[in-house]
């Protein structure tokens, strides 16, 4: 076997190794673009805790309702997460302290899975999921699912959530 062939194979192996490395890095680019970063420890209440929700991330928004009063987003207006907003999903938005919830509260008076906002029969409802300290719409404590509209205010522990169009 000629020395030249061996050298070509030897260098070709190194080139292939680096091609492999760069193709792996190329697949990694998916992590940099098109991801959503959700910070769970809101140190300062002021800036929106959910970056990228607004512009970059294409979120599936619920279809425009015939009712002009149908809410489309929830906005936290009081408590540790003030300023956070989140689009409502027709499948249901669970609010609570559990990290699996769509809106993860940093509130000592909230339960793991505290309340759920969901869509049914062309209307939006909120229901309490058996929380310890209860969910309030206005001043009324929930006992079953209650219909809500844009402008309704929910209170969970120390957190105040407003539904907006």
């Amino acid at each position: 076997m000629s020395e030249l062939t061996l050298t070509i194979i030897r260098l070709g192996l190194l080139v292939l190794l680096w091609i492999f490395v760069f193709s792996v890095v190329g697949v990694l680019r998916g992590d940099l673009y098109g991801t959503r970063v959700v910070s769970r420890t809101a140190r300062k209440p002021a800036p929106a805790a959910r970056r990228g929700d607004g512009q970059g991330a294409p979120q599936k928004r619920p279809k425009r309702q015939p009712h002009s009063t149908a809410p489309r987003t929830l906005v936290v207006t009081g408590g540790a997460l003030t300023g956070t907003s989140l689009p409502l999903r027709e499948a249901g938005t669970v609010i609570g302290r559990n990290p699996e919830c769509a809106l993860v509260l940093d509130d000592d008076f909230a339960s793991g899975r505290h309340a759920r906002i969901f869509h049914r029969d062309n209307a939006w409802f909120v229901e309490d999921l058996g929380s310890t300290n209860g969910t309030f719409v206005g001043t009324e404590r929930l006992t079953g699912p209650v219909r809500v509209e844009a402008g309704s205010t929910l209170r969970i522990g120390k957190t105040v959530i407003e539904l907006r169009r």
Partner: protein, 458 residues
């Protein structure tokens, strides 16, 4: 804690398949290179080893398509390439030592690889959700510590090359410490996810550092004493460092407090210094580290260094160096063997592969939504990183040489078994992390009934 999720989750299994075929192709080319440069002909074992590796990795790939469709697509190709290159180097050392292909170490390594992949497949098959492991937190503690002290028991413990880290059952020998690493990571994750609130909230602030209260120091002291016991009785620096480093890093991930790292480093330095003063074998290692070319001691490190120097930038080419001059060239010193034959360029490609492997583990930890999964994934990823640091640092004289294996590259059944299972766990966690939220949320979540929590800080 922060969670990062992909907007449009894709399984990317086809990308995995392409990368997997590329990885096997690189291994086959390396194999051909060895054969051509040693004997000038295509190696006779090419079909056995090549199809063996291809069959193993394709079988695992199919299992992923079936059982964990959203698992990370990069872990399997990276691990396959590392395992395959390790096989090639071990085969090349077989030729240099004059061992026949049927009784060589490479064939045994291939058999171990197949067994390791089979066990990893079983892990992936039966572990449908990594949160199941949280139920066995304290079982894992007992099993992990049991595995650590197993080599000390009379009868089954074996002393090999001065370290008592082996057990022997009939003709088989095994290093239980490799498996203990994973089991203890499960325990640490389960324990810290329960106690992290108390460990991170209580404390007093001195000079910008928040120091924990005295009673919260208990766990770190226990881990420290245990790692020192491993160091003293099993004479194994590497496992001791790995065990303690794993605990401290997971403590940091759980609490976000730098003071734990400061405390851990101080404790470790103090313990290492006392061990240096008290034990001859530690002193020998330190002298070997500071002056590897001094006479009247092991010339292992010196030979490794000379080998890497002979390789230079582009290496001598596979089959053209003399890596077999170093003792344990196929296990502890496989990295200098690669340095000699692939050169700095090839060595850095290998290091970047390890970096990418660890990065995928940490990315999984970021993406998964439950605290236990985050801690477990980051702990497993960190254990791979720390093990690479200890091995590469040891052979390049950054730290004293310790006896650990390079994950996937080195010859050794226990190491392969443990690391493939580790990757199976990471794949399972990444499957949960990358799966679209709608699919995960079907059915009640295990922690769904959690009521308002009260942080117990006693």
């Amino acid at each position: 804690m922060t969670t990062v999720s992909s907007v449009a989750p894709r399984t990317r299994r086809n990308v995995e398949l392409v990368l997997l075929l590329l990885a096997v192709a690189i291994v086959v080319l390396a194999y051909v290179n060895v054969g051509l440069s040693v004997s000038g002909a295509f190696p006779p074992g090419l079909v056995t080893h090549g199809t063996g590796l291809l069959a193993i990795s394709l079988a695992f790939h199919l299992l992923l398509r079936w059982k964990a469709a959203y698992a990370d697509p990069l872990l399997l190709p990276i691990v396959t390439l590392l395992n395959g290159l390790g096989l090639v180097m071990i085969h090349r050392l077989d030729i240099a030592e004059g061992r026949d292909i049927t009784e060589g170490l490479a064939l045994r390594q291939l058999t171990w690889s197949a067994l390791a992949v089979a066990i990893a497949a079983v892990v992936l098959w039966f572990l449908r959700d990594h949160r199941m492991l949280r139920r066995y937190t304290f079982t894992a503690a007992v099993v992990g510590f049991g595995l650590l002290i197993l080599p000390l028991l009379p009868g089954i413990g074996r002393t090999v090359n001065g370290s008592r880290i082996w057990i022997g059952l009939g003709p088989f020998t095994f290093q239980p410490g490799e498996v203990a690493k994973i089991v203890l990571a499960v325990f640490f994750a389960g324990y810290l996810v329960q106690t992290r609130d108390a460990l991170s909230l209580a404390g007093r602030k001195v000079l910008g550092f928040t120091f924990p209260r005295g009673r919260d120091l208990g766990p770190i002291i226990v881990a420290w004493v245990l790692s020192l016991l491993v160091l003293v009785f099993e004479k194994d620096l590497g496992s001791s460092l790995l065990l303690f480093g794993l605990f401290v890093s997971m403590l940091y991930v759980a609490t976000e407090r730098t003071s734990w790292i400061a405390i851990g480093m101080t404790l470790f330095c103090a313990g290492a210094y006392v061990a240096y003063l008290a034990f001859g074998h530690v002193q020998a290692r330190v002298h070997l580290w500071l002056d590897p070319f001094a006479p009247d001691q092991s010339d292992q490190v010196a030979k490794g260094l000379m080998g890497m120097a002979a390789g230079g930038l582009l290496g001598t080419g596979l089959g053209r160096g003399r890596p077999d001059l170093t003792y344990f060239a196929e296990s502890d010193f496989i990295f200098p063997s690669f340095g000699e034959e692939l050169g700095l360029v090839g060595l850095f490609a290998l290091l970047v592969l390890y970096v990418l492997l660890v990065e995928r583990g940490l990315r999984t930890a970021l993406g998964v939504r439950d605290g236990f999964g985050k801690l477990l994934a980051s702990g497993l990823a960190f254990s791979v990183a720390l093990q690479c640091f200890v091995v590469v640092g040891g052979v390049t004289r950054v730290i004293p040489l310790t006896g650990l294996t390079m994950p996937f590259l080195s010859y050794g059944g226990s190491s392969l078994l443990a690391n493939w299972s580790l990757v199976a766990l990471l794949l399972r966690i990444s499957d949960v992390a990358r799966r679209p939220v709608e699919e995960v949320r079907t059915g009640p979540s295990p922690s769904g009934e959690a009521k308002t929590e009260v942080v117990a800080i006693r």
